[in-house]
Amino acid sequence: MQGPLIDTLVRQGVSRRTFLKYCATLASMMALPPTAGRAMAEAMAAARRPSVIWLPFQECTGCTESITRSHSPTIEGMIFDMISLDYQETLMAAAGFQAEEALHSAMKDNYGKYVLIVDGSIPLGLDGAYSCIAGKSNLDTLKEVAQGAAAIVAMGSCASFGGIPKANPNPTGAVSVSDVIKDKPIVNIPGCPPIPVVMTGVLAHYLTFGKLPELDDKGRPKAFFGETIHDRCYRRPFYDQGKFAKTFDDEGARNGWCLFELGCKGPVTHNACATTKWNGGTSWPVQSGHGCLGCSEPDFWDAGGFYKALSMPANPLKYAAVAAVAGAAVGVAASFANRAKKSAAKAAHETTTLADLEK
C-alpha cells in the first residue's frame, strides 16, 4: 500500500479531523508548540509509509507488549497504520523460512531507507552463541540488518543500555545496540517497558521531519526525556515542604506524600511517566503509591536497591545538585572516615545513602 498516508487513513475510516486532533495531542506530548500539531498533520498526511523492520534479541517481549497493548488502539494503532511493519517475529503470521524471506525482501526492497527497531540486548559472550535466530547470532543479524537502515530505534532499556541481561555479573556479555553499531543514527527509547507514546512520538517525528528528534547525551529524545520524573511529579510540592512517607502504610503514605525516603529514584530518572502516565492516563507508579525504580536509566538494576533512598538532602530545595553527585566520591556531607565505604559503594554500583554517610 503506497501513496500518501492520509489516503490510507481515510480508507480505514479515519477522518481528517480525527487525524488533526491526534496530531495536536501528540505535539503536546512532544512538548512542541501548540500550533505544531497542524504542521505535523500536514507533513504526516503527505508522508509515504516507511518500511520498518523490528528485531528482537535478548528480551522479554515486554516492549512489544507495551506498544501493542497500549490503551487506545486507535491512537497508537494509528501510527502502526502509518508504517509498513515488514518483520516482527511476535506479530507476524509467517514463521521459519517464510519469515526470514520477509526480512530479506524488505531489506532488499527498501535498502538504505528502512527504519530498524531493536528490542533486547546483544550478547557478545561465546561468540554470541547465547542468543541465535535462524542459526545466526544476534550480533551477526544486527550488523547485517543495520547496514541498510536509515535509522535505528533502540526500544527499551536492554537495547538502549544493556538492561537486565547486562545486570551484574552479566553472564552473556550483553551490550546495547550503540555498543555494536557506530555508523548509523540511533535513538534510545529506554524504559522497562518504554512508554508507548514515546515510541509513536519518535516515529511521528521521523515521518514529519524525515529525521530523528533531538537527543540528549544518552541518545534519548529530549522531548520525552528532557526532565526528571521528580521535576514533573505531582507529589513534588510535598518534597519541597519536607513531607515524606516513611513506610508504605504510615500517615504520610496515606496522605500521598513524597516517596523519596522509600527509595524513589524520580530525582535522577529522566522519563515522561509523570506527564503521559500509563494505561491510558489512568495512573503511574508514584500515583499508585510506589517510588520510581529508575528503569529508563542505564544499569538501573544494579543501582543499589529499589527501596534505598538516594541520599538525604540537607536542604530539600538544593537537592538537585546533591543528587547529581550522590554516588560519586564527592558529597557535601561526606567525611574522610566515609571515603572507603563510599568508594566501595561506588565500585559495587550502589548509590550512597544517608545511612552510609552518617555511620
Binding site: K21, A24, P34, R38
Partner: protein, 138 residues
Amino acid sequence: MSLDAIPIHVVNTLPAGSGLTGNAPPLLRELAEQVKRLLATGEPSAIDLSALPLTPADLEWLHDKLGTGEIAITLQANGESTLNETACPGVWWVTHHNEQGAVNSQFIEVAFVPELVKAHPKDVEIGWEHLELLISDL
C-alpha cells in the same frame, strides 16, 4: 459490584482553596497579548495547558475566570472533543478526550474560529462529489 463493598474511605480531602499554585493568573496576561495579536495580524495562537505546571485547582480557577461564551462545539472524532467559547470572544477552551473519556490534551486557543472546526478543502471536495452523486440519482 458496587464500589461501596470496598471498605475504603478518603481521609485526606483537601480544604477548599488549596491547590492553587499561582501559575494561572499570568496566563490571563499571555492571553491578552495573544488576543491583541489576533486583532492586529489575524494570527491565531494557543496555550498548551497540559504542558504547564497547573493543578486541577489552577485549571478550575482559570476556567471560572474565563467563563462561558455563546458557542459550545462538540466534535466526535476518536472520542469527544469540546471547543467552547469563553466569555471573551475569540478565546476558546479546547479539550480533547479519548474514546474512554479521559482527557488527552487541553488547550486554550485564540482564534476567530478554532482550526479543527473548519472543513478541509479536500473534505469539501469529497462532499461536493457526494452532492453530485445525489443529484445524478434524481
